[in-house]
Amino acid sequence: MSARRLRAIVLRVIAEIRRDRPSLALLFIAPIVVTGLLTFILRDTTSPDVRVAIATEGTGPAAGQVVTRLASALTGAGMTVTVAASPDASRNAVRDGAATVAIVLPANLAAGRDAQIALVTKGLDPAGDGAQIQAVSSAIVGSLASSLGAVLPAVVHQTVYGTPSADPMAPFAPAIVAFFLYFFVYLLTGVSFLRERTGGTLERLMATPVTRGEIVTGYTLGFGFFAMFQVAILLVWALGTVRVPAIGPLPEFSLGLGIAVAGSPLLAFAAVLLLALGAVSLGIFLSTFARTELQVIQFIPVVLVPQFLLSGVLFSVDSLPAVLQPLVHVMPLAYAVDALREIFIRGADLSVTSLQVDLAVLAVVAVLFAAVASRTIRRDVV
């Protein structure tokens, strides 16, 4: 591998993309638009269909009074409210689907911060749960503030199935960061490399002493350069939050998910970048089988959508049917999503074995795909 030649390829790839306005837009504006939209959908969904079952651990008329007042407040907020006979009954209502959220008031409701109000959801659909919890919490706070005064009890989220998370959005952010990066990097590399193939420059390049390894490495580093910015944008979106004040007829809204990240953002950055490097090789490899740019896009349902469905982006990996479980283990995206969740939610650092495994798999996949891609480069161009 010659450093000079490699440098020439990297700089050329960068120069080409820099001049290519639509691709630049795809790289930088598309993630912002798509993720911005998702922010609204996930965070700011208005009035979901909330069916509440209220129960209290407390006894006596005082407890009953709080329940009644809360029930009417929630009804006033447009929710369907039933009063359950016991906390267990309310949880059962959620399990059966009769209610979407159970509110379990503690016996010591008046104890201020020490008291804990439990909001119970089914836990299978973090996005839906998040919207429900948000709607119910604000209604509870409004109602109880008037009866309990300034010191409000804490509200905790519990789930019937799965593990509740402090922020229902937390498991999503990593998945979305990883998926969109994978998607955009694949698309851009696939199309760029196809152009190299059909434009005759690949033949030209193969007529120089440049090696196939240098070409793949050059592409990986060149696109890795842009992927770095993309990762940065996506992470800022996931971790940060900006409130945009109401302007004219536009209501106030917030940008960014504002996920509290427990681990190191730098480590998260490294994990996604590894995934992106693998996506570059994937793009080069698949461009071998495409003759037109449309065909590069047609590979998306075959290669990217299954990863989207099976890597825990939307549906938890554990809840997938057993038949599909082995597939999960061959999907690079699954390891990236898992690595990010480990870092974001669990606060894992490099000493955690499962994170080590994720990163190692991502690195191996990147190298392996690069090797495969460089083997397939030299297919006769028709």
Binding site: R4, T201, E203, R204, T208, P209, T211
Partner: protein, 254 residues
């Protein structure tokens, strides 16, 4: 594949053929693109590959440059059996398509291929661009060039590393008559300095500028000689009829 000592022999040996093909056959499935081609080409001369569309000219050049593997036979350039990656530093190949990056500038393209060939001297890039008359357009984006200008850039990228062997696949297509004359002037200058040049063409009026012609038809070299020699042998005054005469003979022999 890597052959490090192959680059050390810088100047082509005048006694050895610069290019040698022995029984070259290339099949694409049922299509036989090359059907047993054998020849020796001496250094410092301009050879013209003449033949109709689909006769196998490009395929022959691709085999000689090691772009694709022969079904049978062997190709040797400057004493090195192709394909050989290191030997490519001594070969220039101007492809039939332009093969330049449309979003880069003229200079960036030439610089890129120079770097790919391991050229360190920036003056060589400027020289190559001057040679093809693009020095004053070095900052232009290639996508905005005319077809002929792109062709010229493509030539510049093929000789930016000053290779002793040059393959030019229809270099003058789309190039205006005035520049065409200049191109051939440059080819002659390069050949006089020792460069071996193989030019494919189906423009017969360019043929007389070559030192020797190889008529290619249906994957075979059906005749070889100087322009006047071939005309005399065929007993006609123009090369088109000479080609047809030889084509008829090879048909009858087959």
């Amino acid at each position: 594949m890597m052959n490090s000592d192959s680059t050390s022999a810088a100047a082509p040996d005048a006694r050895q053929p610069a290019i040698r093909a022995v029984g070259l056959v290339k099949r694409f499935g049922a299509v036989t693109a090359l059907d047993g081609v054998t020849f020796d080409l001496a250094p410092g001369r301009i050879y013209g590959l003449l033949g109709p569309n689909g006769s196998g000219k490009t395929t022959l050049i691709r085999l000689l440059t090691g772009m694709t593997r022969a079904t049978a036979g062997s190709a040797t350039v400057l004493g090195v059996r192709m394909p050989d990656r290191a030997n490519l530093a001594r070969i220039g190949y101007m492809t039939q398509g332009d093969g330049v990056y449309p979003s880069l500038t003229v200079a960036e393209n030439a610089q890129f291929f120079a770097a790919a060939y391991g050229v360190e001297d920036a003056a060589q890039v400027a020289d190559a661009l001057r040679l093809v008359g693009l020095a004053d357009r070095s900052k232009m984006i290639v996508g905005t060039l005319s077809g002929g200008q792109r062709r010229r850039l493509s030539l510049a990228c093929a000789l930016v590393h000053r290779p002793p062997v040059l393959f030019l696949d229809e270099p003058t297509v789309g190039v205006d008559p005035q520049l065409r004359v200049q191109f051939w002037g440059h080819f002659r200058t390069l050949a006089d300095a020792g460069t071996t040049i193989v030019v494919s063409s189906h423009v017969m009026d360019e043929a007389d500028r070559c030192d020797e012609l190889l008529f290619v038809r249906a994957g075979r070299v059906i005749a070889r000689g100087t322009g006047s020699g071939l005309r005399a042998e065929a007993g006609t005054g123009d090369l088109e009829s000479a080609f047809l005469r030889f084509a008829g003979e090879s048909e009858a022999a087959a």
